[in-house]
Every structure is written in structure tokens, then in C-alpha cells.
């Protein structure tokens, strides 16, 4: 089972929940940081990083001696990554989305695949937990193609030896967030009952609902804010799987880099029952829903 931990609003406790679930998970697991712009999971799980590799995306390289300046490539490119101007052909690799269209199209075979570095993929272990993280290169704008490479690595790891995965997703509800959850079995939405938390939670629910995946909410900082969130979940039939109380001691433990499931037996119990709730929800959603889809 692959569980993604997403949120809408940033700073609601995604990484806290992902790290806590990982430490109490009782089956073989890989914890994955797909918040590639600002990865933080390693700060809490503190893995030994054993492997690091640069990840690249395909971009076109021009062989000027073959180019006839027909302009077909520049006409096709939707991202202004290749431009024909008279007897000049310019590429802007940082604009390229890696669709490969120009290379496939060029009638003179004047374009060949080159690369642009997107970031670095790290692998390691935190005790018995496998660990995988993508770190976007600072200055790189496109996280989705890089996230696809990290996900390919995850699939490779799961193919080598079967295990569950917990994915720490980026905040927001646009392409990077959707990319993080789209191939997972269940989405956990972490939120807080404040007006900002609720507004972004609703956006996340709207963005992820069309994916047809089971979803459950985790209410962090419960006791802070209003009832709107609870009413919304009731109306939409969205189960609240657990609540974590608003407590300065928890915020301070987090600020010291602690995994909060390890702060007290009671918090540990919270995450153990969250784990069971997640499995129940996945189980309940499995048979009927899939047959109709």
C-alpha cells in the first residue's frame, strides 16, 4: 500500500504525520520525501544516506551542421524552449518540459537528446525504514518531471522487495501536489481547523476528489479555530481519522526535531490507531468502488 500525506496549506503537520507514521509502521516500509522543493522528512527520520545520484531530464541539443532552419521544432514547441530565427536556432533548456517532440519531429535528425539536471535523488535507511528523497536543484522551476523520476525509483525499490510506502507530499493543490498523490492508494489530508487551514483543505479536497482515491483527514492543532472543518467533513462523508491536540509542548518538541509519536505513549497510541484507521479505510474502499470505476 502506498499512502500519500498531503495538505493544501503548508505547515499543517504533513511531515510530522509522515515521520510519526513511519516510525510506528509495523510492516516493511519506505518513507519517501516528494516535497522536492523543500524536503524536510530527513530532518526528523535522520536516515543514513547511502546513495546519491543526479537526476536528469531530456532536452534537445542542436547539430547546427545538419539543421536546415525549417522551423518545425520551434513551431511544435509549446514551451518556447526552442526558437528558430532566420539562420539561428536557439534552445532554452530551462524552459523545456522534456516531451521529446522536437527530436522526434526534426526531418533532418539535427536534434539529439541532451540533459538538464533537475536535482538529486538520495536513498538510505533510518533503522529498519527505507528512505528515499528528491531534492530539487535550487533555481530549477519544474518539480513535476523530477518527481516522476523519484516515483520511478520508488517503483523500482518496491519491485525489488515488496513493501509499503508513505509519501510526504508538497503543500498546495496544483500540479506538484497532484503529481505526488496521483499514483498512491490512499490520500491522508493533514489540516488544522483555522480559517486558512479549512479554506486550503477544501481546495485540496476539490483537487484530489476527481482522482477517485480513498481520502481521510487528520486534524492537527485540534481545539484551535472553528467548527467549519468538522461540518464540511461530515457533509462530504470524509472520515476524520485522528485528531492531534493543539499543545505548545508538541510544537516545542517538533521545533527540536523530534518525531512526535516518540514524545509520549499517548501520542504514540494516536499514531498506532491512525495506522489501523488507514488500513481499515483502504480495505473498505477496495472492493465495491473499484468494480464500478
Amino acid at each position: 500500500m502506498i499512502v500519500s500525506v498531503a495538505s493544501g496549506k503548508g505547515g499543517t503537520g504533513k511531515t510530522t504525520v509522515a515521520a510519526s507514521l513511519a516510525t510506528i509502521w509495523d510492516r516493511p516500509l519506505v518513507a519517501v520525501d516528494l516535497d522536492v522543493e523543500e524536503p524536510n522528512l530527513h530532518l526528523f527520520l535522520r536516515p543514513n544516506l547511502e546513495e546519491s545520484e543526479a537526476a536528469h531530464m531530456e532536452v534537445p541539443v542542436v547539430d547546427a551542421s545538419r539543421c536546415t532552419f525549417c522551423g518545425a521544432c520551434s513551431e511544435l514547441c509549446q514551451f518556447k524552449a526552442i526558437c528558430a530565427m532566420g539562420k539561428l536556432i536557439l534552445t532554452f533548456p530551462e524552459m523545456c518540459h522534456g516531451c521529446g517532440g522536437c527530436i522526434a519531429l526534426c526531418p533532418e535528425k539535427a536534434l539529439s537528446p541532451g540533459t538538464r539536471e533537475l536535482g538529486e535523488i538520495n536513498r538510505g535507511r533510518a533503522g529498519t525504514i527505507g528512505f528515499l528523497m528528491g531534492r530539487l536543484r535550487v533555481g530549477e522551476a519544474m518539480s513535476p518531471p523530477f518527481m516522476r523520476l523519484v516515483k520511478a525509483k520508488l517503483n523500482e525499490m518496491i519491485a525489488q522487495s515488496a513493501r509499503d510506502a508513505i509519501i510526504d507530499a508538497p503543500p498546495g493543490v496544483s500540479c506538484p501536489a497532484v503529481n505526488a498523490v496521483i499514483d498512491t492508494d490512499l490520500i491522508l489530508l493533514v489540516t488544522e481547523p483555522t480559517p486558512f487551514g479549512f479554506y486550503d483543505f477544501r481546495l485540496a479536497w476539490e483537487a484530489f476528489s476527481p482522482l477517485g482515491k480513498p481520502m481521510g483527514a487528520v486534524v492537527n492543532r485540534a481545539g484551535l479555530g472553528t467548527d467549519d472543518l468538522y461540518r464540511f467533513c461530515r457533509d462530504k462523508g470524509l472520515p476524520i481519522l485522528t485528531e492531534i491536540p493543539f499543545d505548545r509542548a508538541i510544537a516545542e518538541a517538533y521545533a527540536r526535531g523530534r518525531v512526535i509519536a516518540e514524545v509520549s505513549p499517548r501520542l504514540k497510541e494516536t499514531f498506532v490507531s491512525l495506522r489501523d484507521e488507514i488500513r481499515d479505510l483502504a480495505e473498505r474502499s477496495r472492493p465495491g468502488e473499484a468494480a464500478h470505476a
Binding site: 480559517p195 485540496a204 476527481p210
Partner: protein
């Protein structure tokens, strides 16, 4: 005209709450919410919309089932795994479609249409603190960077038309495409951080990003009292890099109390927090004047 963007790297550090307070304190400005993906500033400023525009950006492919011969060339060329063969032949998954046009160009039956994508809306509004430019990307949509550029352009034009000399922007979390767009043409980036391992880590990455794009950078440490050691590490980092620390603000539930009332924190009476923010804003103005 000056332009400031409030960013953070990490989400949830208090960026929007502080931007709201600065919108209250600053004179002669246009406020602009560049977090088009999960915008929250309107919950504090309660804008009244005066103009609404559709944001059309990029394209998506759509297969015409009548003309499709089922050859599968499109699916074999798609790098985004967006074309699948199902019971009803080949279809494009709009969520995965990147809008690259490769399938359209190579379809031998010319069976794929390429349609402009409606990604969201943007607005020009009025608020109790002056004009505001903001947007809402449809949940799950793309091209947030382009929408950020549209908003900045609109905010600048509005400021010029109204004779205002400041554009105050609330940015998005992260360091990717919308954040990079929000930095273009900006005079000063103010990062709101918190003394946690994630806060410091993400601050360093967003600082590197600003250095990469040569944007002046200053720091506000919010929730300063959560972890003194981590706060000291952030201060040391800022000293080393010569980043001004504009404020050290306490972890104060007053921020949430204001939010629940749809107010910015400086509108609540008698708050020590507000006095702190008033001097913070004065420091930001002084810094901006120094940048020239």
C-alpha cells in the same frame, strides 16, 4: 515603484498573517496575493471584486473517437503517461496531459484536437486597505508561474494608474515555478521563518534561490521563542550571510484569533504583537529606501 514579496520556503510560518498586517501598515500600495494555488490573504482582507477575468493558459489534447483509428502512435510518444487505451479506445487523461502537442502533431488520422485550457480566474478588488490583485487557480490546475506573472503585471499597471508607489506581494511556499516567477522584478524578498529544523532548512534554500536570482533578502523570525537554540542558529546564519533580521516575533495565538475574526493582527486593540509589527514595517521601509 517598489515591489516586495513576502516568502518563506516552508509553509505555515505566518507569511500571510504578516503580509495582512503589512497591508494595513503600508501606505499607497497595491496588495497582490501571488500564492495562486492556495491563496489565503483574501480571508483577512475580504476583498470586494470589481473585475474578474478568466485565466486561459496552455492547451490540452482531446482525442476524437470518431476519427481515431486506434493505431496507438499517440500513446507510444506521450512522455507523460497521459494517453491510455481503454474499452472505448484511446483517451487523454486531462490531469496528466502536459499540453505539449506531440500527440497532435504525430497523429496520422488528425484525430486529436488541441484546446485552450481554462486554468482559473484572477480579480482586481478593493479592500479596506486599498486595491488588491488576486487569483484562484482551479484546484489541480497547472501554469501557476504564468498566472503569477499576470498578477504582477496587473498590480504594477494598477499602481501606476493610481499613482501608488508600492506593490506588496504575498508569495507561495517552496522554491519552484510560482516562487521563481514571484521574484522576477522584485526589489526585496522578506522571508518569514520559524526556529524549527524545517524552518531553518527551508530558509536556507529560499535564500539560495534569491541569491541565484540576485534579489535582496531579509528575514523575520516568527515564533522566535519555540526553540532558542534553533533561533540562534538562524541568527548566526543570517549574520554570516549578511541578511538583516527584521524582527523576532513570539509564538502568539493572537494571530489565529485575528484570522478567525477576518482581521489582520494589527487591527486588534492593545496588542504588543502589533507594536512589534509596526516597527518591523518601519525597518522594511528603511531597508527598501537603502536598496535604492
Amino acid at each position: 515603484m517598489r515591489e516586495i514579496v513576502i516568502i518563506s520556503g516552508k509553509g505555515g510560518t505566518g507569511k500571510t498573517s504578516l503580509t495582512g498586517a503589512f497591508a494595513h501598515l503600508a501606505a499607497n500600495k497595491v496588495v497582490c496575493d501571488l500564492d495562486v494555488d492556495a491563496p489565503d490573504l483574501h480571508l483577512l482582507l475580504r476583498p470586494v471584486r470589481e473585475r474578474e477575468e478568466r485565466f486561459l493558459s496552455g492547451y490540452e489534447a482531446r482525442i476524437d473517437g470518431e476519427r481515431c483509428t486506434g493505431c496507438g502512435v499517440c500513446a507510444s510518444l506521450c512522455r507523460f503517461d497521459a494517453i491510455r487505451e481503454g474499452e472505448r479506445g484511446y483517451t487523454v487523461d486531462p490531469i496528466r496531459c502536459e499540453g505539449c502537442k506531440v500527440c497532435v502533431a504525430f497523429c496520422p488520422a488528425e484525430a486529436i484536437r488541441f484546446e485552450l485550457r481554462h486554468c482559473g480566474h484572477w480579480y482586481v478588488s478593493s479592500t479596506r486597505f486599498g486595491p488588491m490583485v488576486h487569483a484562484q487557480l482551479f484546484p489541480g490546475a497547472e501554469n501557476s508561474g504564468r498566472l503569477v506573472m499576470v498578477l504582477k503585471q496587473q498590480a504594477r499597471e494598477l499602481a501606476t494608474a493610481k499613482g501608488l508607489d508600492l506593490v506588496l506581494c504575498d508569495g507561495a511556499p517552496g522554491i519552484g515555478c510560482p516562487v521563481i516567477s514571484s521574484l522576477s522584478g522584485t526589489h526585496l524578498a522578506v522571508a518569514v521563518t520559524e526556529p524549527t529544523p524545517s524552518g531553518r532548512h527551508d530558509l536556507e534554500r529560499v535564500a539560495d534561490l534569491c541569491r541565484h536570482f540576485q534579489v535582496a533578502f531579509a528575514v523575520i523570525i516568527n515564533k522566535h521563542d519555540l526553540n532558542q537554540d534553533e533561533a540562534s542558529r538562524i541568527e548566526a546564519y543570517c549574520r554570516e550571510r549578511d541578511y538583516p533580521v527584521l524582527a523576532r516575533l513570539p509564538h502568539d495565538p493572537i494571530i489565529t484569533r485575528a484570522m478567525i475574526q477576518g482581521l489582520v493582527v494589527t487591527e486588534l486593540p492593545e496588542a504588543a504583537f502589533s507594536r512589534e509589527l509596526t516597527s518591523t514595517w518601519a525597518r522594511i521601509e528603511a531597508l527598501m529606501n537603502g536598496i535604492g
